[in-house]
Symmetry: C3
Subunit: 350 residues, 3 copies
């Protein structure tokens, strides 16, 4: 492992991540990626420590990814799933967290359908003066930092496998396509990408763009124009003059010369909420296909956080095309990045 | 670990626990509490042994506590949850237990909503002449020995951290408040507390006292009097003249000068069964608050087996007050005590 | 472990298993049976490898058996259960498998209610050129190879504990009784038993025999005759002139002088599908009892894959009779055989 100074005690959001922190995560994950290619894929780093997966919202794939990451580090894991838990018995979320604290948990990986729950747990742990770390594994429509970090790692290692770092993305055009409004993945990705000085383009139907953007677009009466948004109360904003965030309610200008296309999962419930005409029409307008990719740079790559609705966000053919799709690499990167995060949070413990 | 002779093969009830057995559990748990404060919290004691959690009634917190205890001892764990099991396929409970036996289970931790299930499994294992141990993790309204032992450990280590032992409770006044009638926790606690020669006071509305007691109280036409019960067919009874069990259907006489107040979880279903007027009225009459604690000794401590219905059995404010609440300590003690029980049952194996 | 050449990369079906392969599994399982009798029951063989149990159809007992087998080999395990998974989110089965592949899974143990799913996953893994092995843990009405291999191991070690091998069954009369039509266990058992040159007798009501057989029987207008079937498009067929498969729609000719009686689990749903008059009548006609066993060889043994419907496929009394019942041995053999299969698939990895 690289020797490094890491001072962050919880990982809740990427909003205030520094370049050094991004680079530390990327380099640490690269070391673990190397461990994972060995015959014996385990390291004793977190032996005797307990990682509790507190998944108030069910998610097999993210939970499995954290679980295997923890086991590769020789930690013991505990799985809490809301469905079968005493939550139904009237206990509050903080009480549940404190129970796992009292049982000797060192790191809590928290997912909840409400934004802010991991922050609330972390605040309570700090108030109690205990050393437990909290890692946000997705909270409502707020953030999903480990997903954005694995996306970042996937892209950066593609550009420079030996030395993934944030500045590799400088000037790259990256499109984020889909349900921006409801996506915690998009929120976390925007923070890391604007920190890298990439050129970030968001494309979505107006009903799936954050409200302020959508109102602005609708009032303007325009249909296909390009916007540079410099500030929005409900959304990440660039912090330097170099950083630019573009919004589109048509797909094409976002794809034009893009280096990477990040697609987002579409919750089918959106349709019943009248935010979408039909999945078929959505696919026609915003679904990514090999044909549409011809607008991008020739070696463009496509990402998706999974699970994919084949034929909706992305064509089935494209999803399975190793020339364009990074989806499998993302899952593999996920284990290495989560090992890195658990390592950075856990190695100062006890 | 203290060298000790431990002859009990199953832990099903505290009814016939000896002073020596209580003290052995307390001292062994104290050793493990020390292990848990080390950097590496694992010991190889049960390496290669299998602990199966057979939870026919779901319980995330108790199951997690046993699971982490087993993992700290380096045992392998198997989790059986009734919901997803073949129980729906027509197999009997004993068949399920025998299946886990045949797979090589060394210790079965059993929870079931019916009283007597752990005893029935233990009897079957003995009949088969196998070495498997059964540990009752809560059976109906019968007993919950590991909970009572962790309560005992929590109290005793508070009085003498270096040497917790049963005789520390001699003459202490301990109130048990709440749904005595339906509580397996209360039943197990009464056994251990009367064995310690503490003065045990039970307080509950008449509808939540064991039937014989309630009938007696109602027939007497009294409302606030104090009773010394010397014998009851359905309930633990003192075995020596020193041991006293008091019953109250008002809270105040139980709290008067109490050293410890053990509150019990209230099942909200009780209200729909017309055993309670309302949760609010229950809280007013039997809920523990800082004000009511003024009746007790100044350094009184409050326990609750969890999960707590905040504002019902105990005020939210009091629950979070480290000056009075031992609730978090109980959870931590739970891991140490369960390590001790698994160790005592398991170390003679194979 | 015996040094052996094992070239099979997936275990999906026993249809083309060779005698050498059967004997390798039996001998390897015998070595692990010996390991399981030691004080420390773990071996480091698969340390650092990941075994993922992908159970799209729930099964606590089979999943627990594979899980404990994997843990005895020091592998890390991941459990995927369809109920709580993202399958509901629109991901395909192959996408799920590829996600677990990308997370670093070495062996996938797959159960699904549709026949052919493990084959489809294995084909996809091969197409991708990855080293992951797939083990069929039961697919629809197709096959359940590990169950048939543990049945084989149970029988062979009874005959010669020191050296279980396929040719021990030559000439033994083995009856398979029950719902042949829907049983993947029967299908896999028939492959292994005819490979051993045992004399295999199937007995079932006509509605629970494979369709072609049933039609043939019904058209013949016979009620109790014995048939030698040499070929059937939907069922295993003997490959040598020595191998014989007999079908009966009455129980008695199958039991006559039998050495072993394999009973099959009856799905109670069959009755609602009008395939059975009543469970009581089924038990009267095809249920195995001590009285009916008097038709068999004196030291006949009875098997059942579990979970048993007591009093349906087999009388409760007989099930618990260690003189006749091998049911508990089967469960124990299951762990040893699954250790052997994981070992044979996994030891060539990485």
């Amino acid at each position: 492992m690289p020797t490094t100074t890491w001072n962050r005690h919880h990982i809740l959001s990427l909003a205030d991540f520094t370049t050094t922190e991004y680079d530390t995560v990327l380099q640490t994950a690269a070391s673990f990626q190397e461990v994972l290619s060995r015959r014996t894929k385990k390291v004793p780093t977190l032996q005797g420590q307990v990682v509790a997966n507190l998944f108030f919202e069910p998610s097999t794939r993210t939970r499995s990814s954290f679980e295997i990451a923890a086991k590769r580090l020789s930690a013991d894991t505990l799985n809490f799933a809301a469905a079968t838990s005493s939550m139904t018995k009237g206990e509050t979320i903080l009480d549940t967290a404190k129970t796992y604290l009292a049982m000797g948990t060192d790191i809590m990986v928290v997912r909840h359908r409400e934004a802010g729950v991991p922050n609330a747990i972390a605040a309570e742990m700090d108030r109690l003066g205990v050393k437990v770390s909290v890692l946000n594994a997705g909270d409502g429509q707020h953030e999903h930092p480990s997903q954005a970090l694995l996306d970042l790692f996937t892209i950066c290692t593609l550009i420079d496998p030996a030395s993934p770092r944030l500045d590799l993305l400088k000037g790259k055009k990256i499109a984020i396509v889909g349900d921006i409004l409801h996506s915690r993945v998009a929120r976390s990705n925007i923070w890391s990408l604007i920190a890298s000085d990439a050129e970030v383009h968001l494309a979505a139907p107006p009903t799936l763009l954050p409200k302020l953007f959508a109102e602005f677009l609708l009032e303007s009466g325009v249909r296909s124009q390009e916007f540079i948004i410099s500030s929005s109360p409900s959304f990440p904003t660039p912090h330097s003059p170099n950083q630019q965030l573009f919004l589109h309610w048509q797909l094409e200008p976002a794809l034009q010369n893009a280096d990477f296309v990040m697609t987002l999962r579409l919750q089918k419930e959106r349709m019943t909420a009248h935010l979408l005409p039909s999945l078929r029409e959505y696919h026609q307008l915003f679904g990514i296909t090999r044909t549409k990719l011809q607008l991008c740079k020739p070696n463009v790559k496509v990402l998706h956080p999974g699970p994919v609705n084949r034929g909706v966000e992305i064509s089935s053919e494209l999803m399975d095309d190793p020339e364009f799709s990074l989806i499998q690499s993302q899952v593999t990167s996920g284990v290495a990045v989560r090992m890195a995060l658990l390592y950075l949070l856990g190695s100062g413990k006890a």
